[in-house]
Assembly symmetry: C2
Homo-oligomer: 355 residues x 2
Amino acid sequence: MADIGSTTGSDIVAKLEEQVHSGSESAVSTRANSSSRDSTVSSADSHSEAQPTTTNGKRKAEMDFDILAPPYSLSANRTPHQTADLEEVPHGISRQARDLASYSFPVHRLAEVLQDNTMQPLVIVACGSFSPITFLHLRMFEMAIDTIRELNKFEVVGGYYSPVSDNYRKAGLAPANHRVRMCELACERTSSWLMVDAWESLQPTYQRTAVVLDHFNYEINVKRGGIKTKTGERRPAKIMLLAGGDLIESMGDPNVWDDEDLHHILGRYGCLIVERTGSDVRSFLLSHDIMYEHRHNVIVIKQLIYNDISSTKVRLFIRRGMSVQYLLPNSVIRYIEEHGLYVGMSEPVSNVLKF
Amino acid sequence: MADIGSTTGSDIVAKLEEQVHSGSESAVSTRANSSSRDSTVSSADSHSEAQPTTTNGKRKAEMDFDILAPPYSLSANRTPHQTADLEEVPHGISRQARDLASYSFPVHRLAEVLQDNTMQPLVIVACGSFSPITFLHLRMFEMAIDTIRELNKFEVVGGYYSPVSDNYRKAGLAPANHRVRMCELACERTSSWLMVDAWESLQPTYQRTAVVLDHFNYEINVKRGGIKTKTGERRPAKIMLLAGGDLIESMGDPNVWDDEDLHHILGRYGCLIVERTGSDVRSFLLSHDIMYEHRHNVIVIKQLIYNDISSTKVRLFIRRGMSVQYLLPNSVIRYIEEHGLYVGMSEPVSNVLKF
C-alpha cells in the first residue's frame, strides 16, 4: 500500500472520454445441478453481458445458490450448490472497464445530492493492492463512517477502492483486472455504498497516491463540479485517503514517501487512519513533522474490534489449501478458485512474517 | 458459553418423535422498490411458506438484492435495495421447529457415507449463546476443519450450532427462536456444511453441556447407528465440543464446571479448543488435572489470524447505532434490524469490558 514514487505530485492531465463502458466480463454463473431447482432470475442490469436469453427475449441469469465447495469432502449426499450468493450483476451496478479507452469514472453509488446542507461532502478513497480484498478492507470503511458521523462535520457521499496497477510489482500481486473484479464482487455482494475505480489499475506506469487522489478530485470536483446541495448549488467534496496503520508508519520512512507528496496528500486532501489495537498512532502523529503540520486533516479511527486479516495471510492459506472462509466474501473466494489465483504462487517467508 | 449446572451427566431420556417439521417462519422477502427491476425467482424449496403465488401456480419469492440500509443516508439517488443476499430458503435446507413437539434432529447436511474408510467420523458441536452469531463463530469451524485434516485421523461428517435456551438467563440473550434463526441464516447463506440444532434451545430447563453432547450422541450414534462406511457397515461418530479459549479457562473454575461433567465431556467425547493469540492453552492443559488426564481427547486449534469479534461488542455497537457490517453475515444483520433485536437492551458495563 505504500507509495514508492519520488517525483512530486501533479494534477491529472490525461483527458478521459466519458463514455458508457460495457462490462467486459460475463456474469459468473454456475448452474445448479439439482434437478428440483428451476430457479431463474431475469436480470435488470444493462451492463452484464453474455447471459442466456429466454424465448421471450428477456435476458436471464441462472440463480446461483452457489458453492463454496469445501476443500474436504463432507458427504456424498450433500448438494454441492447450497451457499446462497448471487453472481449476476445487481441492479444499478456498473462494472469497470478493462482498458483506459473504455474507462469511465464510476458514479452509480456516488450521492447526487447532499442530504444535510450544513455538512461538507466527503469521498473516502482506499488505495492498496487488494490482492485479494478482505473483510478488513471492507470493515475499514464502516469504521470510517462511524467515526466521521461522530464529528458532525462531513457527510460521506461516496467510498472507492483504487487497486494499484501491475507496475507496482509487489510480491503476491494478482493481475490488476482480477483484483479490480474481486473488489467489485465484494462491493456488489456485500455493500450498499462502496465502489471500485479501475483508473489507477489501468495506468501504463505506477501512479503515486498523490496523483491518484488528484484523479478523484478531478473527476468529482472538476468534471462534475462537486456535489449538489438541496438548494441547487454545487459544493466541492473533500477527498480523503483511508489508510491502515502500516501505511501510516511507512510515512515515517523518507525512502518510501516523498515530502512533497506527503504535503500534497495531507495538506490538500487528508487522511483517515485506522489505528490498530496496541499501536500508538497519536504519538506517531505528534512526532512526524509533516503529519503534525496537517494534523487537522488527519482523522484517527480507533479499531474497537481487533482483526489482523491480511491479504498476505489469505494468499498463504490458499497456497496451503486451508480455508479462508469468513476472512473475505464468499463471492471473492469463489472467483479466486475459478481463476486459480494465488495457488501456484510462491512468496518469501519474510513477506508473511511481517504481517 | 460456560456451563453453570452442577448435577452429573446423564443420558438423554426424552423420546423425540421423528417427524418432518415445517418451517414456522415465512421467507423474509423485501420487495425492491425500483420500477426497472422485475426480477423474480421461483422457489424450489419445500419448506418456505407464505410466498406469493403466480398465476401459473408456481410459488415465487421476490428476489432480494437486499438492503443493508446504512445507518446514515448516503444519497438520494441510491436504490435502497442493492446488496445481494437471498432470503428464501435454499434448496435442501430444513428449518428448525419452534417447539419440542415438532422438533426433529437436523441431518440434511450430515454426511451419510464416510468417504475414507480409514478415518473415524467426527461431528463438531459448538455450544453457546450466539446472541448473535458472528463471523468468529463461523470461522472457528473452518479453523477446526483445517486442524483436523492435518491429524489425518478423523473425517468431519457434520458441524452443529446448539444455541443455549432462554433459561440460561445471561445478559444480552435474545429470545431463543431468534438466536436459532440467526444461526440458521448464517449457515444457509454462507456455509455448505454447517447446521443448527434447536433441541437445547427448546428445553424447558437449562441443560448442561454434557447433556447436550449426550443428545447429539443419542441422535447420531444410537438412533441413526452412526455413519455408514463405503463397505456398508455403520461406524459411531466421535462427538467433539468446539470451544473458544474463554470457555476452556472457565473449566479451571470449580464453581462453573462440575468435575463429573468435565470427565464426561472430555473423557467420553472430547474438545476442540480455539487458542487465542497471546493466550497459553497448552500450559493450562498441563496444569488442569482432569484436562491432563484426557489430553488425548483435546485438540488445540491455533488461531493464525487474530480476531476478537464478540457477540457482546456486536450488541453494544447495535445499541450505539454503529455499523456491525463485516462482523457477521448481512442476512443476520438484516434479521436483527427487522426484529429490532438488542436495540432497547441495556447491559452492565462490566459485561462489555471483560470481552
